[in-house]
């Protein structure tokens, strides 16, 4: 029993005598000490802390705030102080990067804690003093050092030159007020033809009553043979070849009264009209007309004749007012 106790004491002595090289070898309470960020000093040396900040500072741009630690034994274990939660830093800076970036070099025992910050106000800027606690492994105790405060001058932010708004030139012009949509009511589509139709019928009725002769003329002109003959005659000039009038006259007789096409000469026409029991005076008029036209057509010198007598004859036969 006594031997076991002696062995345990020896083991404890041996453990405490071995220098501490890692934070985990410290007790849990020691690891949570205020302002201790896990830094152990190189044997026989003390840790130096230094603030570094850009010389030219503005309130519109970010700057790099660096806390440099030298003579750090466990460079890979050092934690960054939480600057963003410290009131003195919040007062000084409008923007504090969190967490900070850590760079370390174990060969030269240097740790750099880099934080992007943006000064809050223009004028004099003081980087607050930072308390930094570290552990001395050989002395087996904690040591406190301070990163000395730093003063810089901050210039006011220079506003970037405004960028003009681009766009189609027409878009920058406010359109003058216009009227509202004037849609055509659907009933108007039906009302218009009805009204115009009624108007047309009214005009026709009025015309028939006001001009009975015109009405009679219109009624007779519904007969196609009459209409065609008068239409053709109206289109002719004052003097035309006799054969043209003869053709119109013969076509009229054929289509209106059923005269045969073969009745070309005055005698043939007279026979045909006689066969059709045509009134004598009309048959005479028809024969004389064709004889007159043939005389002009087949005479020694071809003559041009007026269509007026033929038109008057047809109008007289049809009872049309001339």
């Amino acid at each position: 029993m006594r031997g076991v106790v002696v062995l345990c004491l020896f083991a404890g002595f041996a453990t405490s005598a071995e220098p501490i090289t890692r934070v985990s070898q410290l007790s849990a309470i020691d690891q949570q000490r205020d302002d201790f960020y896990g830094a152990l000093a190189v044997a026989g040396k003390s840790i130096k802390t230094t603030w570094t900040l850009d010389n030219s500072l503005t309130t519109s741009t970010d700057s790099t705030l660096t806390l440099t630690l030298t003579n750090v034994l466990n460079t890979d274990e050092v934690r960054a102080p939480e600057l963003a939660s410290r009131p003195e830093f919040i007062t000084a800076f409008s923007k504090i990067e969190s967490p900070s970036r850590i760079e370390f070099d174990p060969m030269i025992n240097v740790v750099k804690i880099i934080t992007q910050v943006r000064p809050r106000n223009a004028g004099k800027l003081t980087i607050p003093e930072l308390k930094f606690v570290y552990y001395l492994p050989l002395a087996m105790r904690f040591q406190t050092t301070y990163a000395e405060s730093l003063t810089r001058t901050v210039t006011a932010a220079v506003a970037p030159p405004p960028v003009p708004l681009d766009g189609p030139p027409d878009f920058f012009v406010e359109r003058a007020s216009t009227g509202r949509a004037g849609a055509v009511p659907s009933w108007l589509w039906w009302a218009v033809p009805v009204v115009i139709s009624l108007l047309a019928i009214g005009i026709i009725v009025w015309h028939r009553r006001a001009y009975p002769q015109a009405a009679e003329r219109a009624r007779i002109l519904r007969i196609r043979a009459v209409w065609v003959a008068l239409h053709d005659l109206r289109r002719l000039p004052d003097a035309v070849p006799a054969q043209t009038l003869a053709a119109i006259w013969q076509r009229y007789l054929v289509s209106r009264y059923g005269v045969r096409h073969t009745a070309n000469t005055p005698q043939e026409l007279a026979d045909e009209l006689s066969r059709l029991k045509f009134p004598v005076h009309r048959a005479t008029q028809a024969t004389e007309m064709i004889a007159l036209l043939h005389a002009a057509q087949f005479g020694p010198e071809e003559q041009r004749v007026s269509p007026r007598p033929l038109r008057q004859l047809i109008e007289a036969w049809e009872g049309l007012p001339s």
Binding site: L165, G167, D170, E174
Partner: protein, 241 residues
């Protein structure tokens, strides 16, 4: 009372528009003013101002405020009521150039017949044709003169034109509704994100598409005649609240 009147006057979208034009050298300030103006014009539309100028100004202000989907929406609303309005058509064409459509893809065509022949045009032609037709008939009935056909024939031709134009416009109105995209989106070959893209480029906000079908949260759209694909319904502009 005077204060209230001043307040009302200062809230007019025209003032915001003018302010935006004045602030043109500063993009951010101008955009804020144009956004206020666009909101004001939209309010006027909701309160019953359906004039073509209000739609034009709403779209222009929204476009200058960077709200292109809303601008296309405003121009489209205007053209729906004023299909033949030259300024609205020109504004929409200019905005489409800003939006940028994928290569070889043309914007949704405007309704060709409807945008060229207004209802008033058709009505005037209809009345004129009716007058010619019935006037010619009237003349022919009373005189039996063949020259009346020189009135009857154009009248018939005019009525036929009105009929055909109306049929074409009715056919255009039966086409699917045009929607506007509110966010950049990839047109896909199927109704899911796992389907491959239909086009090599992303569709930009403000792009007009014709809605064909809907399935779940996805919509089948036609971008250009023949360019059909699927996109999430959430990417479609839902209009103005």
């Amino acid at each position: 009372m005077t204060t209230l009147l001043v307040l009302l006057l200062t809230c007019l979208p025209s003032d915001d528009f003018a302010h935006g034009v004045q602030q043109r050298i500063d993009r951010e300030a101008a955009r804020r003013a144009f956004a206020d103006a666009a909101q004001g014009y939209a309010e006027q539309w909701k309160n019953g101002d359906t004039s073509a100028s209000n739609f034009s100004n709403w779209g222009r202000a929204a476009a200058l405020a960077g709200q292109r989907p809303q601008a296309v929406y405003a121009f489209r609303l205007g053209l729906d009521q004023y299909p033949t309005d030259v300024e609205l058509k020109r504004d929409l064409v200019q905005l489409r150039e800003l939006i940028g459509y994928p290569r070889d893809v043309n914007p949704q065509p405007l309704q060709a017949w409807r945008s060229h022949v207004s209802e008033a045009d058709r009505f005037v032609l209809f009345v004129f044709s009716m007058v010619l037709l019935l006037g010619g008939c009237c003349w022919f009935c009373t005189t039996r003169r063949a020259v009346a056909w020189w009135l009857i024939a154009p009248g018939l031709l005019g009525l036929l034109t009105v009929l055909l134009t109306t049929l074409m416009i009715q056919a255009e109105l039966r086409q699917p509704v045009v929607s506007v995209l509110s966010a950049p989106v990839t047109l896909r070959t199927g109704n899911g994100p796992s389907y491959p893209p239909r086009l090599s480029t992303t569709l930009q906000p403000g792009t007009e598409v014709r809605l064909l079908h809907e399935r779940g949260d996805w919509a089948q759209v036609e971008l250009d005649p023949g360019v059909v694909g699927w996109l999430p319904k959430a990417a479609m502009f839902q209009g103005v609240d």
